[in-house]
């Protein structure tokens, strides 16, 4: 099943050998490096040639890479044992954040533990790890009772994060949990039933949404209705992408981004800058690179040697895809604006750390395999 592991030291060069010794996966590393590098060029342009911002991003990438390296050294068995602890500590911190937020009288996402720390980011990895832990020594597909239990384990953090309110992260964690359940092999009929119930529950969800969240959905349906208000983001983003054409306006030449017509152009809407400056070719190429990274994640998941590893690797890869899809769909006006960054490219610290920590897990899973075939 895994010839690469067996013959690795012979078929790859010394760099590859070295990377494997420090538990890094060369193909994944290559993909990440390419996207991160391109991302820095894009960010430089999107920030209006702001060197300070670029240096900040480099520092964050450095920190995140360090976290990735550390995570990659941890044996999966350790992760499995730690999973429930991390999950419940994270849950406790979410409760704390909500409590402080209430006291402070406004939305709050972070805890001040010397550095600002977002428990919701931790939950992006803790939730799939917890679910994988729950399933790791059970027969799959899981029973219906177990599935309901898992849904509750997902709903608790998702609900609290949605209350913060951070809809983007809540959706991502919900999707990650759903990915674990799906990958665990739950019967298709349950999936169909869940989808039907989900659609039926939409009006209820609408009822519980914040007014600004409702506004985002309405705006998506008809952005022109409020061109200077909520629809402005989508309109300007579409203009940026569309005006890029096939080949784009060239690096640093996108007027929408450079002249600040595009809002949040260095964070959530950076994909529009890529679309404007590098055109259809550029965005297609970027999506292809993301595809290669995700494909490598799927291969690692398929190659993993135990249930915990498989489910965790699979869900981390699916989460990464969800990032890419939700962000690009949102920027192109297919989904409401929900505040999901473009992974590895958008400026911003915490998501970068979580993302690379996730890839650290993938690398750990890939490089800690026993070399003997089962």
């Amino acid at each position: 099943m895994s010839p690469t592991g067996k013959h690795g030291t012979q078929s790859y060069g010394t760099t590859t050998h070295l990377l494997r010794r420090i538990h890094l996966d060369p193909p994944l590393m290559a993909g990440l490096l390419v996207v991160l590098t391109l991302g820095m060029f894009v960010l430089f342009s999107a920030s209006g040639n702001d060197t300070d911002m670029l240096l900040g991003q480099v520092a964050r990438i450095g920190l995140a890479a360090l976290v990735m390296l550390v995570v990659a050294q941890i044996n999966v068995a350790w992760m499995r044992r730690a999973a429930p602890w991390v999950y419940f500590i994270g849950l406790a911190m979410l409760v704390l954040v909500l409590a402080i937020g209430d006291a402070g009288g406004g939305a709050q996402r972070w805890l001040d533990l010397g550095v600002r720390f977002q428990p919701s980011e931790l939950m992006k990895l803790a939730v799939p790890a917890m679910l994988a832990w729950l399933l790791h020594d059970r027969a799959l597909p899981p029973s219906i009772m177990l599935t309901i239990g898992m849904l509750l384990l997902i709903a608790a953090p998702v609900g609290m994060i949605a209350l913060q309110p951070d809809l983007g992260t809540a959706i991502l964690i919900g999707l990650t949990g759903a990915a674990v359940i799906f990958l665990a092999g739950i019967a298709m009929r349950y999936i169909v039933a869940a989808t039907v119930i989900g659609v039926a529950a939409m009006p209820l969800l609408w009822y519980f949404m914040h007014s600004y969240q409702k506004q985002r959905v309405l705006t998506l349906l008809d952005p022109e209705k409020d061109p200077l208000g909520a629809g402005y983001h989508i309109i300007q983003s579409k203009i940026a992408i569309g005006s890029g054409g096939i080949f784009g306006k060239g690096w640093l030449n996108g007027s929408q981004g450079q002249l600040e017509f595009l809002p949040e152009r260095s964070t959530d809407f950076i994909f529009a800058v890529i679309g404007e400056e590098f055109g259809f070719i550029g965005v297609t190429l970027l999506l292809l690179l993301y595809g290669l990274i995700i494909a490598r994640g799927f291969v690692i998941a398929a190659d993993a040697q135990d249930t915990f590893s498989r489910l965790l690797a699979g869900s981390v890869s699916v989460t990464f895809f969800c990032y890419v899809f939700v962000n690009t769909a949102m920027v192109t006006g297919l989904l409401p604006v929900v505040g999901v960054p473009l992974p590895l490219v958008s400026a911003g610290g915490t998501s970068m750390v979580t993302l690379l920590a996730g890839f650290g897990i993938l690398m750990s899973i890939q490089t800690h395999r026993k070399l003997l075939p089962r």
């Binding site: 020594d137 059970r138 027969a139 799959l140 597909p141 899981p142 029973s143 219906i144 009772m145 177990l146 990915a179 799906f182 990958l183 665990a184 092999g185 300007q236 579409k238 203009i239 940026a240 992408i241 569309g242 005006s243 890029g244 054409g245 096939i246 007027s255 929408q256 002249l259 600040e260 017509f261 679309g275 404007e276 055109g279 259809f280 965005v283 297609t284 999506l287 595809g291 995700i294 494909a295 799927f298 998941a301 398929a302 249930t307 498989r310 489910l311 699979g314 890869s317 699916v318 895809f321 890419v324 899809f325 690009t328 769909a329 192109t332 006006g333 297919l334 089962r374």
Partner: protein, 620 residues
Amino acid sequence: MDYTRQIKDHWREQRLFTRRIIACSVIAILLTGTVLTRLAVLQLVNAEYYAAQSQGNRIRVQPLPPARGLIYDRNRNVLAENTPSYQLELTPEQVPDLEHTLTRLESSGLIKSESTDRIRNLIASKRRFDSIPIRQRMSDDEVARFAVLRPYFPGVEIRARLARYYPYGRIGAHALGYVSGISATDQELLDPAKYAGSSYIGKVAVERTFEPDLHGSPGHQDVLVNVHGRMMQVLDTQLAVPGRDLILSLDIDAQVAAEAALEGRRGAVVAIDPTNGEILVFASAPGFDPNGFIRGLSRDEFRALQNDTEQPLFNRALRGAYPPGSTIKPMLALAGLEQNSPLTRQQTYCRGYYSLPGNPHRYRDWKPEGHGLINLHDAVAQSCDTYFYEMANELGIDVISRTLSDFGLGAATEIDIGPESNGLVPTREWKRRNFSAPEDQIWFPGETVITGIGQGYLLATPLQLAHATATIAARGKRFRPSIVQGIRDPVTGVIAQRQPRELAPVTVSSEANWDQIVRAMEGVINDPQGTARAIGINAPWSMAGKSGTAQVFSVAQDETYNKEELAERMRDHALFVAFAPVEEPRIAVAVIVENGGSGSGVAGPVARQVMDAYLGGATL
């Protein structure tokens, strides 16, 4: 399903997991395909549409207003120029909260509270992306103050613009007119493309009539702007074509003399070059300072100007219609000579009044004791009313009307600034049409009699009187009065001279008739008995003229007329017409001083001062 009974089948689970991974991949590919399709629609199918949108976002076309043409007098003294000034401009589209912005501008003292309504109206009448001047002629201090506050006023900018400036201030204001902010009414009439970026428009007189010449054509600048509308880079510039300069026929020195002489009075002075109809002096008093309109008069200031009982905005030279009084006597004398009237060939006896045959009503002479035996020359020189009552009766209203009309009275002179009053030369026809009661529609002989001394229904503007005087000076040659002498192209510098427009002349059967009239008018000034014998003293050139006193209201029969007892407004209007030098006339002047009293005593010296300034001469 109790899991404890199930045996963990690793192979089966691995196969199930692999299938699910493949399913995930398929879903991922489908979703990515959706995004790619969307991107293809945006970037391939609709690329041109979005490219245009993005262009529209970032490129703003800014109009470059043209510099208004300058105005010179005949000796190239600048009467109207443009001086750089700073003005505050607001672009409604870029102002997040208009009311808030106006309130804060007001509280920081940059705009006046009374002008906010006007600004609101202006904003409502313009396009949202037009830059609107909200404050003109800012002081250095105000510019500095705004510069500090600028970040708090998005959409409001200081622009250096050229503002109209009239270096002579009030002098010649009624001839030049003024420019002022473009009103909503102007807005409807003008071509918005031509006035994009223009803040001012000519309002009256030369500034208004020659607006198309003076204004010029705007240029434009394509500028790259950021989302805040701040200019980042100029992409393309099409320079504005400045307006054409005007060279007026006015002589500013004579104009200054005229307005100084009218100081503190209500009245008008018009001087014309008899050889071509060019206006040399065009004064109406009281005047106004046109520079005030550029700064922007507040509503109260404007109302004060409009409601002033002295009517400083009323152009008396052009629109003031007055009874011409005795100033028409030379024209009637000419008519008498032309008609070969018996009176012109003999003397008549003036005993201080005239009565129509068989009617006891006495038409009184200004000299109660009478002039005694008097001929045509002395009748003009001494302004004998009795002689002209009789002359009028002899000629009849039809001949009088025709003669006065031949000299241009009763009709617009069609001077190149307007609008002017037509004045009035009454005829039988006119009376029939303008009176409702049948008994009033008949022309009475008594009405002819008083028309003989320029009273009754007769009305003339100072411009018409000057024009008629110029016609006498030119011995019948008539030119359409014009104030603009030449128009200079700002690009080539070539001056297009406006040719004098000759009108139908006043023809006479014998040139000797002109000689006789002119000699009589010289007598007014030179004869020992001449009514204006004080006017011509020490003049190095010869002068001919005629005084006039127009009754504002009629004095009842046998009532003694006491000037002192009359309220100032009830006093007679003082008139004087003159031309000089007699041998080769270069200037013809008409002066009216409202309620001035004596024509020769009050209006005459004004005419002399104007002539001194124009021709050069000794002081009076």
